[in-house]
Symmetry: D2
Subunit: 293 residues, 4 copies
């Protein structure tokens, strides 16, 4: 059960530090130093104070913090020996259930990264798809030590912000969840397209994973957002709209096979905390899509 | 080398029939009867006269004509023993190079069809993709004998029209070739999008086959039509436009991964002799497509 | 002050009839007969009961009800002698302040209509622009007596529904107000277009009347609907978007004079109780619009 | 009758100069100096040589050339005493038939301009609408003497290029004519919209002038370009498409008054020698337009 910001503001120092012990991996000093800045008006302020403590720490402390993070998809993770928080985060992508081949790839990349920079590759897993982690890994291996050092602290900030947002209740929570929504408009009839079947897939180089299958309601929208209640994972997606069946059900005769049947809309998400609205304006012979709002 | 319509109009009866002997499978009587209608003003008139001869023939003659056609992907075809015309037609889809499994499927379907209707499954192969043949096979197996009889004669008409169009030179050739073209318009800059890489794929249930890879020219078009010089094969296609690279090359910075990168436009072709113009109007955040002209 | 449906349900018969005396012009019998159907669960039910009373009345009664309505733009209206309800309704369009020429046109049309059909031209003024009244007048003069008789009762129903909705409070109010909204999306930048000046005009054959001038907010929408809180008047409108200034303010250089500057979107409203959402998707070189939702 | 480039290349010096005497107002020295650069491979080369002669002339000569141009809408012009070339050019806009009020405005602006800069306001009239001349006048009155001096020579270059292009036949004519075209695509039916009535108007601050009224052909295009065979006049235009009647004629029932009836597309032309393609993609409830190619 989350603790409240009020409780944190009024707790004694030891309780404060204990309550926040799992926000920064094995580094109680972060909470200790942030404690002095109490009281916090918002959860976002608390997060800012903790990040400020990290930014102001000595390099040795920062390095220790970075090094306290487990390697992605490490042997430890595979054997099930991760700290609870890290396990939940890495497990969300199936990083603890990799094939032997994938495990080898991660192991080699981890080793190369650590050898090059002297600390493990850190990334806020919950903001990424498996594919975007692989792409980041490849790109970041080519970075400089300074830039990677900065990125590591930034990613630790993302991780902490998510953890805080889920373990502390109170006003001014930082925005950590994004949203993906759609809307289908039938521009032949000038009305929302109700009853359009659609799928949401994650696309990556090797395979496509089905994330959701649903149907538009009377407003041409989906009852639930396509994605929400979590950071949107950086990556490439496809919404596939079965517009052929929709128009056929409305009695529109189009010579078989229909010019438009399954309409794939492929796009990438780059802002895990953003709102992506991806509508479809469609007739039996045309469609448009765009990032809406 | 094609014969000319003039030559056919003035040839003696035997030469006329000989010259057209391969238009209708093993059925010289079609040319014999059409001969009486000479002279023909156009190649299309010649085709119409031959189809009229077929339509006016006795049922036994029609049945013999239908049965003179080889089975699709038959043992004969596989062994390389088809008549030259049929071999070229079936070979165009790789129907003479099927896997054992596919060969089995065709063999079973052929047997079932012949058993049900008393004649082989006839389809003008050059107007179809392999997938659309499979779909047609499944659908036509569920048809009535009367309807399939009519369809067989209609398909024989398509086959003859194509053969005629390629073996006879002269005015008024029937339209047997279609065309697929595209055009990319950059609606951020109000000008044709030059240098956009694109691919054309055939999509079917089991796999995707790359048909073409090209780049738009200064007019935002491709130097050659995407498809042309042949009937368009009925089936589902995808044009994939690499718009992310295009905008990046123009210096437009979009947060990585880019909202739009590879834009797939999936559509079906239903009219092998038609012109399909499938343009893309695109900005870094939106696109439209439609069947144009 | 509105009376409540509860009060109407429990009032004695005389109070009930008195409270509803101005809903149907000079025809207390409508309320009297509807009274028997009490209690009403919703205001819409009350309206339905009153319309049922009208529909079930003798022709002489119906005719008397129709004839109790003042002529549009009559001498009485011009002299200011209308019943309060009718005055407010006709005044809303300026029908009591017509030029002499317009007054003559209305007078002539009224006389012709009455002569042809034996009753005055009835129309629910608040659902129309002045232009759409003139168009309806011309069209309905060409109708049959039976059809006009039916339309008169239907229009009386619209008038009563609006009056009821404004004089009775309670659950299940009939929908009598419409809404016109817009949304401007910048498809060059993939975000709402904030700060776009726009105007809403009523367009008719002779002139254009400015109804509203406003600016889009951070969401690309207007703080208030463009029209609302009343029936939408049937007629033709134009939203004019000053997109040239918007893009210039964002630093987008386009050769002068700009390809797009003031973008007029002209459309008609046919359903006074409907929601019309008319968005604009725009780049410096292209735009789309549609009836959205 | 135009002279040919060949004739000019081989003529004696005096004939050459005489033949080109009306290209630069009262300044035979331009042709004289360009003569030395013969032979010219293209008409564009001839023009370049003459402009080079102007650019290389002494300031006194340039000034004399500038001052040799009549004032726009001057008393001389009004009285019909202009040189034939200038009269045809100014007459094309009706500048010789101004109202007294407009004449006053031009007279005042001319006087102010000449007083400020010491030479008359020069503009290539055939590249402008009357409105864009007024706008240019106002803007250029606020310019510097240097910049106006440069613009005057540039406009003289435009004038000469047009005159040359019309008086000399030969290869490599400079592009002096633009083109405006349209295309209507019915995205409800996936085909060109044939039979759509449309108008082309010039829009300016004070009035709208009808330039053309036509109907789309079977390809959804107009048989002739909307504008062509002349420079496009810089200014604002509107194409109005009667799409309501088009869809009604196809039997599409839309509640009256139709959401879309007359669709105005307003845009500006900034490049007199450019190709402006302004298509309309339309359904009964939506449309898009853009600068195409």
């Amino acid at each position: 059960m989350p603790i409240t910001l009020d409780q944190l503001n009024t707790a004694d120092r030891v309780s404060f530090v204990t309550a926040l012990s799992s926000i920064y991996e094995a580094s109680p000093w972060v909470a200790e130093r942030a404690c002095a800045a109490r009281p916090f008006a918002t959860v976002a302020d608390l997060h800012a104070a903790m990040q400020a403590a990290v930014a102001g720490a000595a390099e040795a402390e920062q390095l220790a913090l970075i090094r306290a993070h487990p390697e992605l998809a490490s042997k430890v993770a595979r054997a099930g020996n991760l700290a609870a928080e890290s396990r939940r985060e890495q497990g969300s992508l199936g990083l603890d259930r990799l094939s032997d081949e994938e495990f080898e790839l991660f192991t080699r990349s981890n080793a190369k990264y650590r050898e090059r920079f002297g600390f493990p590759f850190i990334i806020c897993v919950r903001r990424h798809t498996r594919n975007s982690i692989l792409v980041s890994f490849a790109r970041r291996l080519a970075g400089s030590r300074d830039s990677e050092y900065g990125i590591a602290l930034e990613e630790i900030g993302y991780i902490a912000r998510l953890r805080l947002s889920e373990s502390v209740d109170g006003p001014g929570k930082p925005k950590v969840y994004g949203r993906l929504s759609t809307h289908v408009l039938d521009i032949m009839h000038g009305e929302p397209a109700a009853g359009v079947s659609l799928v949401l897939k994650e696309c990556d180089a090797s395979a496509e994973g089905l994330l959701k299958e649903t149907v538009t309601n009377a407003n041409g929208r989906t009852d639930e957002p396509l994605l929400g209640g979590a950071p949107l994972r950086i990556g490439t997606y496809e919404i596939g709209f079965r517009v052929g069946d929709y128009f056929a059900a409305k009695g529109i005769a189009v010579r078989y096979p229909r010019f438009l049947d399954y309409v794939p809309v492929r796009f990438a998400i780059a802002e895990p905390e953003g709102h992506y609205h991806v509508p479809l304006l469609v007739s039996p012979w045309s469609y448009s899509t765009y990032r809406g709002s």
